[in-house]
């Protein structure tokens, strides 16, 4: 079984060298800094040879499960395949310009930004986009600030944002950072928000409703048009969390459902790699009325070129919410997303959602006789089961799945389902892969009945067994320290 490699600090030795760089012709006599500012040493900083570095990280990589190695059905994360051509094109040196390069020297990059914006406009039906936000949560924050500025310009930013009880934690956190109080509204027995419940909560304090569609139960919020109407009548706006866009991209446009502000996750729907936790990109799309509130910088295309012949320009000042990120945003992530949509084209765009939803329904039907399905509404791209009636915990099932080479589904989210198991296969799984998952689940659920203790001790075949999270929090060790006791026996 694979083992964790020793930490680099323990492999370090004075005299080892891992890099090669030419010597300078200049003498140290030139140093022009007061001694008080100078550094003499970086205590305990490691030094290794190149071969040790390559082995270290190669061995670390073997300890990870990834989309490239197997099924990864994390709900609401859309762990679809990350095409390698995206990475290749993103690595073209010609794209890696300094962000302060004169605009006439980076017209290609500005064209890429504009092209992606246009694709997103066409796919979503929103009027304008900012590609600046670095991730979904960042985008949510930007979206809520746009709403706030818009309402302020009308005289009153208002105080409250309504958020369904099934919402992802970033929703209330982002709204809070935009200066709003949160009020939770309950989903009904179908798992969606109904207009009557919304109306009970609407008053002149409400700035917006943040709605995920399909929601975290994988169910389409079919009252969305009516809900949007009710909000608009109340002078409030509809924010749509587009994390689950994979469920209906190419089938319906949020802009036609009454959405005022939409965020997308390029690292979900648009296939850019998750990287173990980023970088991502969280573009925000808005209606034409809100375009003036978008953050800077904003790239525009001039149809009449000026005397330099430039087509693309950038504005750094507008009436909008200001700057939210350094430079242009996560540009190389945008390149990957653009390559992806161009590879899909109109012939394949719809297939994404169709296959994603077929796959999720296949899993639902394959498991619904063995697991409790709390909401029986139509399933879109993800299905959520509960732990009702099981004599083991959801966590135990998840840990046992690891032994089958399958990454578990999302556990204990959304909060409104007890012991939630949120399964999103995506469209990039073969039928064989889905069948293997269903077989694994059947085996595990049988074990749960016959030998529940086994599950409580799973996983057995992973590089480490269950980790003591309590100890990690009580005895905080968040960095290596010399001469500290090794934790292993």
């Amino acid at each position: 079984m694979k083992q964790l490699p020793e930490l680099i600090f323990n492999k370090s030795k004075e005299g080892k060298v891992g890099y090669s760089f030419s010597e300078t012709e200049l003498s140290d006599d030139l140093i022009a800094l007061d001694v008080v500012h100078r550094r003499e040493d970086i205590k305990d900083f490691p030094q290794l040879s190149e071969v040790e570095i390559v082995r270290h990280y190669t061995n670390l990589s073997h300890l990870n499960h990834s989309v490239d190695s197997g099924f990864y059905p994390l709900g609401s994360c859309t762990m679809k395949y990350n095409p390698k051509i995206n990475d290749k094109i993103a690595s073209f040196e010609e794209f890696s310009a300094h962000p302060y390069s004169p605009l006439k020297l980076v017209q290609g990059n500005l064209e890429i930004i504009k092209m992606l914006e246009e694709w997103l406009i066409n796919i979503t039906g929103m009027a304008g986009f900012t590609l600046a936000p670095a991730a979904g949560a960042h985008g949510e924050f930007v979206g809520m600030k746009i709403i706030r500025q818009h309402l302020s310009s009308k005289g009153n930013p208002r105080k409250v944002v309504l958020i369904p009880d099934s919402a992802h934690g970033t929703n209330p956190a982002s709204a809070h950072f935009a200066g709003y109080e949160i009020k939770e509204i309950p989903s009904n027995t179908d798992g969606i928000i109904d207009v009557a419940t919304l109306n009970e909560h609407l008053n002149e304090e409400v700035a917006a409703l943040m709605m995920t569609n399909p929601n975290t139960l994988g169910i389409f919020e079919k009252n969305i048009i009516e809900i949007s109407g009710a909000l608009h009548e109340n002078g409030s706006l509809l924010y749509m969390d587009g994390a689950n866009m994979n469920a209906f991209m190419g089938i319906v446009k949020p802009g036609e459902l009454g959405v005022d502000v939409l965020h997308l996750n390029l690292h979900k729907t648009f296939s850019t790699p998750h990287g173990g936790g980023g970088p991502g990109s969280g573009p925000i799309g808005v209606t034409s009325e809100l375009v003036k509130h978008l953050p800077v910088p904003l790239v525009s295309r001039n149809t009449n070129s000026n005397r330099d012949g430039d087509i693309y320009h950038v504005s750094y000042f507008n009436e909008g919410i200001g700057r939210v990120k350094n430079f242009y945003g996560n540009f190389l992530v945008m390149v990957r997303a653009l390559v992806y949509v161009m590879a899909l084209g109109k012939e394949n765009l719809r297939k994404v959602a169709e296959d994603a939803v077929l796959n999720a329904n296949y899993i639902r039907k394959g498991l619904q006789d063995l697991l409790d399905l709390p909401y029986t509404s139509k399933t879109f791209h993800e299905v959520v089961f509960s732990d009702k009636g099981l004599n083991v915990k959801t966590l135990d099932i998840a840990k046992r799945l690891l032994d089958f080479g399958i990454h578990p589904f999302t556990v204990y989210f959304p909060l409104i389902v007890h012991g939630a198991m949120m399964i999103e296969p995506t469209e990039t799984e073969s039928k064989q892969s889905l069948d293997a998952f269903i077989r694994a689940m059947k085996t595990i659920l049988k074990e749960a009945e016959e030998d529940p203790e086994k599950l409580k001790n799973a996983p057995f075949t992973t590089p480490v067994t269950r980790l003591d999270e309590v100890r990690a929090a009580r005895q905080l060790r968040v960095k290596w320290e010399r001469e500290s006791e090794s934790l292993s026996r």
Partner: protein, 131 residues
């Protein structure tokens, strides 16, 4: 430390109060510590600060949740249980005794009447568990 739970007062947020003259000693109930799971950290209130009844003055962290502790009576914080800094698990092991969190010098002991007694708290818990 042996404590007679029957003598304690309780709040709806699962804090308990033990009174010693003008001092109210505060902790969390056995139900609360079970719900939280293994306590990994207790943020103690500042000694010397004055708190109003119902004001958040401390929080308790487990691996899966953080809970605010609300001051059950108004007054000045006169002591905080420093033993919890190195051994937060005492809250789990002995929630009513050594797991006390802080002490308040009450400025209005009449507020104690607004709290539940032990039997009332048991009833209250039954209602929650039935939900």
């Amino acid at each position: 430390m042996s404590v007679n739970v029957k003598d304690l007062k309780f709040t709806k947020d699962h804090e308990w109060v033990r009174v010693e003259e003008e001092i109210a000693i505060v902790g969390i109930s056995d139900y609360a510590q079970k719900e939280l799971g293994d306590v990994v950290y207790v943020e103690l209130p500042e000694v010397g600060e004055t708190k109003e009844k119902g004001e958040a003055c401390s929080n308790i962290e487990s691996v899966k949740a953080v809970s605010d502790i609300y001051c059950p009576v108004s007054g000045e914080i006169v002591e905080a249980n420093a033993a919890l800094e190195d051994a937060p698990e005492i809250v789990n092991k002995d929630p009513y005794g050594d797991g006390w969190i802080f002490k308040v010098r009450m400025n209005d002991s009449g507020q104690l009447d607004e709290l539940m007694n032990s039997d009332q708290y048991d009833e209250y818990l039954k209602g929650i568990l039935e939900e």
